[in-house]
Each structure stands twice: as C-alpha cells, then as structure tokens.
Symmetry: D2
Subunit: 339 residues, 4 copies
C-alpha cells in the first residue's frame, strides 16, 4: 500500500528525535515534514543538535526543519505532536479544526472527557471518543493523547492485575530518567552524585490519568523523583488488590498479557507488552529499557507481602513506550481500525 503521510511538530526535542528515529523505517508511515520553533527553522536535524545514540537516518538527515505555522502544514494522515503543552494548547485545536488528526504527547486536554487518552493495549476502545469530540467541538479532525510517560509505564502491569484480582489502593514511588525532562531540563550540576525528590506536576498526572485510563476511581498515591539515569523510568508499586492472589499467578498473568495491537500485529507492537524478569535484581534501566525495542515494560520483584498486598517494580523506556512509541502505536491502531 501507499505509505501514510505524517508530519512531526516539535521535531528537535528528545521526543521529537525519537519520533524521527522510530518512523524512519516505518512500514506504513512516511515523514513528509518536520516543524519546530523559529530557532531551528531552516536547519537539518544534525544542525539543530541531534542527541540520540544513532545518527539521524540518512534519508531524513538532510530534510530542512520548518518553522511551525499551521497554514503551511501539508495534507497528511497524522500529525505527531511533541510540542510543549503551552504551544500545543494553541496549535493542536486549530489543526483539529482544520481536519488534521493530531496524536499528541502534550499534557493539555488529556483530562477532557471527549479526548481519548490511550495506551493501545489497555483502552483502545477510547478512540471512539473521537466521534463525540468532533460532534461536540465541530472539528473535522481530532486530537488524541498519549498519557504521561510515568502513567503509561505503570498502567500496563496494573491492567491485568485489575482484570483478574481487582485493585483497591496503589502506592507508587518513581525513579525517573533525565531524558524525561527534555534535553536541557536537568542541569548536570543539579543531579551529579544526587537525586531530586520532586517533578513538577507529575504526581497529579499519574493519579488523574491512571483513573481515566483504567476507568476506576482508585485510591492512588504517587511520589515522583528524578535520578541520574539517562533513559528508563523505574517505578516501585504497592497494590492492594480486591481479592487475594498468588505471586506466581500474577507473574503469569503479566507475562501472558496481550492487547489489540498484538492481535492486529501492528508494526510497533511488541510481541509481549510486559516482560517478566525472574532475577531478583531486575529490572534495571540500562539493561532492560530496550526490551521489545523499547515498547515493552519490564516487571520484576513481584511479591506477595501479605493478604491482598502486591508489590512489584516496573521499568519502561520513557521516550519510546512512554512517549513517541506509544503515540505511533496509537496511530497504527487508528489507521487499522478507522473510527
């Protein structure tokens, strides 16, 4: 088939670069343009400061970045937005009104009732909110959101636990990677031989978005911290389940978990969305973040600490499954199952 055309907003940031990297050889999607702020306009990706391990893909390395102007975006099948939320709040609704389908990483609009907030393995059905969104807002296009990175990574293992044993209460503490704050987000002087026990806005997002995605009004308590790790968010969760469980059965349920993307064999879908590690000192960010090409989360230390008291550690690549990868998977799902 002809490849679907996609356009990337905010292409020069760490998430924007992941989009480029993941889409470069995509079998369905073809990047037809990149936009960023005025500062990068007219430059190539390398000139704008490429920061990932592998150089930009050769066929995209020479593409000139455009200044973001709504008028100049060509007709495409999907616009992927890695804009900061303030910019997104202006641009994305306008694009949707003009008929573009925007799959966005930005946090604005996530909690609006008519906006799908999607982890494709968990709540693909929420994509149907697009109809309500269009009707209510008079848009020809749509805005679809991926959740906060920490939330996405946490929710994947919560889903099968919820389905089989029920969940009443969650305490979570996160140890988040530097890349989550963007390229210049955390100065090296601030984090060398150090950690920072606070990330602005993050805890509220984890609480609210988890309730929306899993459609349950849990008790959920979150403390989010920044640690000197490049990529990969690690999260320690204590889950009070509704019914008692066996730790081995939980491990099995997580390892067996599959969703619609696996059923449809979507190109970016990992074979196993959740990989379970049995070695007691895993998951570790450096060793496990690339599981399933960055699209699987890795769970370890699954323990029954008492009746209905489950503990585990989950890790995921924050700019792949937690950001660009999850959005691309969402777009694949939309392409395969039009609303």
């Amino acid at each position: 088939m002809d490849r679907l055309k996609v356009y990337i907003l905010g292409a020069t940031g760490l998430v924007g670069q992941r989009y480029v990297q993941l889409l470069a050889k995509h079998p369905w999607f073809e990047i037809v343009g990149l936009a960023a702020s005025e500062k990068s306009a007219g430059k190539t990706l390398a000139q704008a400061g490429w920061a990932l391990e592998e150089p930009p893909p050769p066929d995209l390395a020479e593409l000139k970045i455009e200044k973001l102007e709504v008028d100049r975006i060509p007709k495409v099948d999907f616009v992927f937005s890695a804009l900061p939320s303030e910019a997104a709040a202006k641009v994305e609704p306008e694009l949707a009104a003009r008929g573009f389908t925007v799959v966005s990483n930005a946090s604005n609009m996530r909690m609006d009732p008519d906006v799908p907030l999607v982890v494709p393995e968990i709540n693909p059905e929420d994509l149907s909110l697009v109809r309500q969104q269009r009707a209510g807002r008079g848009w020809r296009g749509a805005v679809v959101k991926k959740p906060n990175c920490t939330t996405t990574i946490l929710n994947l293992p919560l889903k099968p636990v919820l389905d089989e044993w029920g969940i009443e209460r969650i305490h979570v503490v996160t140890m988040q990677a530097l890349s989550g704050a963007g390229f210049a987000g955390v100065p090296s002087v601030a984090i060398t031989d150090n950690l920072i026990p606070y990330i602005r806005g993050e805890e509220d997002k984890v609480v609210a978005e988890t309730r929306k995605i899993l459609k349950k009004d849990f008790e959920i308590y979150a403390t989010t911290t920044r640690v000197p790790v490049l990529d990969g968010h690690t999260e320690v969760a204590y889950v009070d389940t509704a019914r008692d469980f066996d730790a081995g059965a939980v491990a099995d349920a997580l390892a067996r978990f599959r969703g619609l993307p696996q059923e449809l064999k979507l190109p970016t879908a990992p074979e196993r969305p959740i990989e379970v590690r049995s070695h007691i000192d895993r998951p570790q960010p450096r060793l496990d973040r690339w599981a399933g090409r960055g699209m699987a989360v890795v769970v370890g230390r699954i323990r029954r600490l008492g009746p209905r008291k489950l503990a585990f550690v989950v890790l995921g690549h924050n700019t792949v499954r937690g950001a660009a990868g999850n959005s691309i998977l969402t777009a694949e799902l939309m392409a395969k199952t039009p609303a």
Copy 2:
C-alpha cells in the same frame, strides 16, 4: 577528664574510616588502636587505601593497623566494630565475654531480645537490656548494636509521628547510596546510567528492626534500591496514622523533636535530630547529607494525601548517622549514663 580509650575493628572499610574521622578530634574518646584483616595489618591508613574526602587526621595517619586478634586488644572503654557480620559473629561475643563493651555496626545479634538496638534519640532506655544480657550470657562486657542504616534514618521521623498521631501502616521505598555497600560493593560498570532495585537482606532488616526499635508490630512494607549517589540514603515513606493530622503540625513536631542526647548535650548529638526543609525539591543527598555534621536527618515533602495518609521524604548520611556516628553517640550516652 581523661579521655576514654577506644579501639576500632574493621578500620579500613568505609565505615571504619568514618569512625577514625569522627573520633579523631573527639573530646571524650581517644583511639588507641585499629584492627583489620591480615591484608591491611602493618599498614597505615593511607597505605591501606583511604577513601574519604579529607585525608586521615595527621595524628592517626601514622598509626599501624593491627591484625585482628582478640588476645591482643588492649584494655579499652569501648570497642567500635565495623566488621562484616560473619566476622562479627565470631569476635564480638568473645570480646564481650572478656569484658569489653562492644558497640557494633554488624547485623548479627540485632534481633536478640537481650541486645540493645539503639537510636539514642528514640530508645535510649533499651541500653538497660545490657544487664539482662550480662546475666543471661554470663558476660562481663556487652554487645550493643546500632540498627541498619536505612532503618535508623527512617525511624527518626517515625518516632514523633508515632507519639503524636499513632501509626498503623507504613509503605517505604528507599534510594540508597553506593557507600552503603562498602568500597568495592557496587562495581561502577553495574551502576553507571543505572539503578538496581534490590539490596540483599535490606528489606527484612528494615521491617524487623523498625518493629523492635519503635516497639510496635506495624504493618510495614519496604522496597530498597541502589542509586548512583555516593553518600546519603533517601527514603520515601507513606504512613497511615491512627489519628488524622495537619501537615503543618507534623512538620512542627518533626522540627521540634529532641531526645536524651540533646538534653545531655552529648558531643556528637546534632542540635536538631530532624531538620525540616520547606523547599519542594528537598531533601537532596548532595545538598543535605551533611546537615548537623551528618547526624541530622532531613525531611521534606511532608504531605497529607488524604485522611490519616501522610507522605514524606527523609534523607540521612548513611555512614555517619546511619553507621559510625550513631554508634559513637550511643557510646557517649553509655559513658554519660552508666548502666
């Protein structure tokens, strides 16, 4: 007064070196000898590999380390033991039988009912167990233990909360420093751009020792992790209290907390055992670990997340308050208030 004589076992490890550093200018105690394994015998501290920021104190820099042999330890007022627990299990009882008072960091015997496990600000009264220990074991000396470092740091803020509001349940996640594993404990290859979500034996110690120190059979759940930070354990705690509270009142209670060491003005006692930081991104290990010369713990992010649901972050210097400093403070208390 004449200074009391002290002897250090395991003087070449990171904790042993902290003992030397903290005791070098101690107003009451005088180091009369250092012992370590055969490998270091006959060397000076510098030759054995000094690893702290400041060089060994000049008057101790030339002292020759002795091979640890029970027979050759001179008559001293206190033996400070920084031995590994296996070696400690052999040597410490023998020393106590011979009349030595051993204040020890090693984990063996900590849970024995007749062994004081002491944070001097919290449970100084447990030093009286020494009488029972001597009677029951027929010892002329005694073995007194400091708790696991993570436990000590956690228990300091728990104590005033317990006293004023009661505690029913604790969930804790720790982010522990590299020095806690000893000089060669964590290879750099293992922890660069990484963290390790498991520390052998640590979680069980936190649970059991907290119950012994605070004398209450809490529900307590612990997950302990290692992060790339040199010194300073950070711990995120969720505490279900028995009675509801105001977050400001908790902050006040922690900041006002004092114990017997403060009352007695012991030399190593920090003026304030708990320092409360109001800035939202504190405590941080690099910025806060030296509070109260490493003897205060620093608490921040005190929040009421719901009725009777308290959260906070506590940080302490793991080899000072968590190890050598707490033992020295205990010995000071014993010197001032003989059993």
Copy 3:
C-alpha cells in the same frame, strides 16, 4: 581594624555563590550588597536557588539581592564581579571610571596590556599596571582580572619549573568539571556516561593568558575537555624544559614553592600553594579538590619521560582557586600592599 566593604556582582551564579561562601566569615572583608540580573532581584540567596553543599551563611541568607544598576552600588572598597563577560564589558569600565576597584572573573579585558591578570603567588608585581591603567583611561578606580580557571591551575606548577629549569614547550590536555560551565551550562543528558572534547574559547585563553602571566612566549598547545565531575579541573601537562632535571627535584621545588601571599600570611592564602602527592593514582578531583581549603593545587605523577621531558598531572578547585578564591586573594594583596 574596620572590615573593608565589598559588593558582589552576579551573586546568584555558581561563582557568585562561592564568593558569598568564602567571604561570609572573612576577617577583613564584609559583604554589604549583592547584585544580580532582574530575575533574582528582591529574592534572598535561598530563593534564587542556592546550589552549594553548605547552606548560605545565616547572616547573609536574608540579604535581598539587588538588581544590578551602576548608580545604586554603595561606596565600597572592592567590587567582586562574577558577571558573564558581555555584561562585564559594559558594567566594569563604568564602575572603574566612577572610582570603584573591580576584581573580576570575566574574560573581557584580560589581554589588555594595562590590565593586571594576576595569580597572587606568581605575578603580584603586575598589580602595578593599575597606575598605567588609570593614567591611560582616566579612571579613578581600576579593573583587575583573575585568569581563566584552567590557566590559573596550570600556571601554579609551571612557575617554579620555569624559574629553575626553564620551559620551551607545553602540551596540555584538560579534563574540566561541570561547575566550570555554570549551573545550567552542561545539561545532564549531554554528559551522563559521556565526555565532551571541546569547551568554547577555552583553549585560546589557556594559551594567551599563560604567556601573559608567565611573561614568556612559549610554544603551548592545549586541548580542553568536559568530564562528568562536579568540581575540580584535572590537567595533564607535558613540559619540555630548557635544562634537564631530576623528577624528585621537581617534586621538591613544587612542594617548596611559596609566594607573596604566603609571606604576607594573607587570610585566604593556602600554607602551601602546591601540594605534591606521591601516591601514583593522585590527584583525583573528589579526594583532592579541597586541599588548602580549595586554594592549593595538587600535583602528582611527576615523571621524567626523557631528557628535558617532564610530565605531571595538576588538579585545582575551579570555582575556588580557579575563580572566587583567587580574586579574593588578589583583593587581600591589594588591601595589604596599596598600589
């Protein structure tokens, strides 16, 4: 005597904070005001973001930072400037014209022939250039510069080598600390598990300033790199001397080196400006950067690699000896020996 009044420009940066820290208990100098950019005006140091290990000194913690306006600076004995060079180029000459004595860290004007560029142990005589500066520029005050941090640290050991054996050629490679780039200078994403083999403008400064300070037109080649170390620049130097030498004699000459600040017993002068370490794996930044309270440089690995071919490694604290400390020492020298 009455303490001399000093004022700090650029007080909120890393070097500005070092000034505050080092001057807080200074026996001769008293901070009477702090200025910074509009962003910090009206805040206290803590509110503006204190980033050093120890909290701001209590008596200065509540001082309000002023917006930098030349008109509003009170009459003081010294103005210490930690301004960026662009701002410095505007403000410093104006202050000097108005009669202020400015001791500055900024790189502008350093190579002007009438501007003293001073390491007090090396070229205190260059302070007399102030007379020429005043005469030529019609200023009542003066601008005195400290050299680039890397240059200062390198030049201290070069000086006694030059004096005893002569120098014909220098090859130097530096491994510089993160704090040298300022608080937000190096993003953590850029330097984690990495190093950067380039620092803008640094190599030219090392070459030109070394020639000015040592008053000799050496062949000198520099490559400057950034490494993930918080504080402390490490420099590997190969020096072709004019006359052959014995490595032990070089070590002795460095260890014996003293300058005018030592003779005058200036308050900030380290007892020994150069400390020589004999252990083969020293100096190391974390272990040695605080030698002489950060004012000594530490030299190790002194080797004779062939006839007239000397190699050594030198380390110094880049924001103390390399910046604020060197300027304070310079001001002390000026106070003691008025031009």
Copy 4:
C-alpha cells in the same frame, strides 16, 4: 560453506561476553563451547551474570559454561582467549603446542618478536610471523595477539598520517572507559564524581605496542586516565609530523583510509575504519562509540596548531574495536588468507 568452529576462553568477563554477542550471528564462525573459571562452571551465561545491554543470544543462552581445562577443549578452528594475562601465560602456549590457533586479548607475549600483534587494517602482513613462531617454538598451532585497546584505537588514525606525512613525536592523553578494567575493576565509590589519572601498566603498553605495530621507533609519551564513562576510550593526540600538512588533507586521508579487511569485505570489517566528524564537539563516547557497529574509530577536532604540529581526538569502542571485535576481524583475515 560450513561454519568454522570457535571456542571462547574467559567467556564470563565483559570481553568474553562481547565475543559471545559479536559471534552469535557470525556468518562464518560458530561458537561450540565456552570456558571460564571454576566459579562459573556449569552455569549458563545468564546465571554467571550477563552485563551487556542486550540479553545473551537465545541459542547461546542455555549453553553451559565449562571449567577451563586444556584437555577438554574440542577440535576447533579458532580459540578466542579473553583470559587474564597470568592465566593466559599458562594456557595459551599449551594450546598452541597442541595445535590450536589462539587469537588472544591477553597482554602476555605481545612483545615477543615472533608473535603477530595485529590491527588488521594496519599490519596484516605480521600474521606471517606465525610461520617463524611455529618453527622456533615447535608448535603446530599458534598464538596471535590483538594489541592493548588504547593502542589499537590510537594506531588507526596514526597509520595514514605516518604514511603520508611521517611522524616524529607523539604526545597522547587518554580518558578511558570503566569497562576497560573489567566488570569489577573500578568500584563505583572510587569513580563517582571523580576520575583517576593512572591505569596500571597501560602507558608502557601504548608506547611499546605502537612502536611494534607501526614499525617505527617514535618518541611517544602517554598518560592514561580513567573517567566515569561506561564504554568508549577517548584519546587526545598531539603528533609532530615529518612534513607539514593541511588539516583538511589529514581529515580526507583519515576518512579515505581502508585496509585489507575492507578490500576482502570481511564480515566484521567496518565500511570505513575511521569516521571523521566535522562538528567541533565530537567525538563523544556515548554518541559515537557504536560507529561501524563498534568497529570504526571516530576522529574529530583535527587541527594544525603550527608547522608540523597536528592535534586530534580519537574515540573507539574499547571492548569491540579495542578487544573482541579486533580479534574476530583478525581471525576472519586468517580464515580468508591462510598463512
């Protein structure tokens, strides 16, 4: 063709694991056995502690590691040795005597005149020393060595410079990765917020081996340091050439450099053994170490500092091009061009 059989000695170390990783999908070679010390015997690679980013290849993950015993090694085409040099000094000659062809990373025998010390792009002709080795030692097999990792990485760019402009003198300073010391070689406590300006034995190896490989008795001066970088040695070189040069011409010569492995299209040969980066702040270890799948070295900052005074920075993956990869490439060359 049938794949050639290979056997790995020292399979559990970091270099041993790289061998496994690089050979897992090799088109010519098939791993038929792994040996290590008694401690790992009977375990799988995962059980023995896999430390690389990607898990061990599935088909090798279940292979049991054997205790190293010369008698039990099956008939194979190549034995790859990642043994420590002491063990290698015992085992390798015995294997060669028994007819095995050993390609070894260990430093013993490297300087023996009848032992090839080979970087396949530079001195493939030295493989013919094997005939002399067999004749002189009465061996049916042979021992072939790869150079020290730092030497290999340095010598690749030196070779084309030597060929076109001649070399008279080299000053080099290295910043070497943690993995070069093996998994437990550098404790995290020793290197966090730090660097170590000394690596035992390394400088002598760089000097002696460079002279042997390039067959010229240069003046060469080396200082080798350890920095907190996981993989990738960075080296700053100053080269005094025999004839003057243009910096652009040097860049061209490096970028154009090819050797016999490229001509023969050996499977592990990178297309370009030397990649030249024009961006001023490159090469950087995290961004450039995987160039040419870890088999290319990356050179940047090529400068003419004066007449016949060349400077550059070279980076290479120390356990791929610097170790396992170079040995595999050597074996490929031997397989293709039998002595």
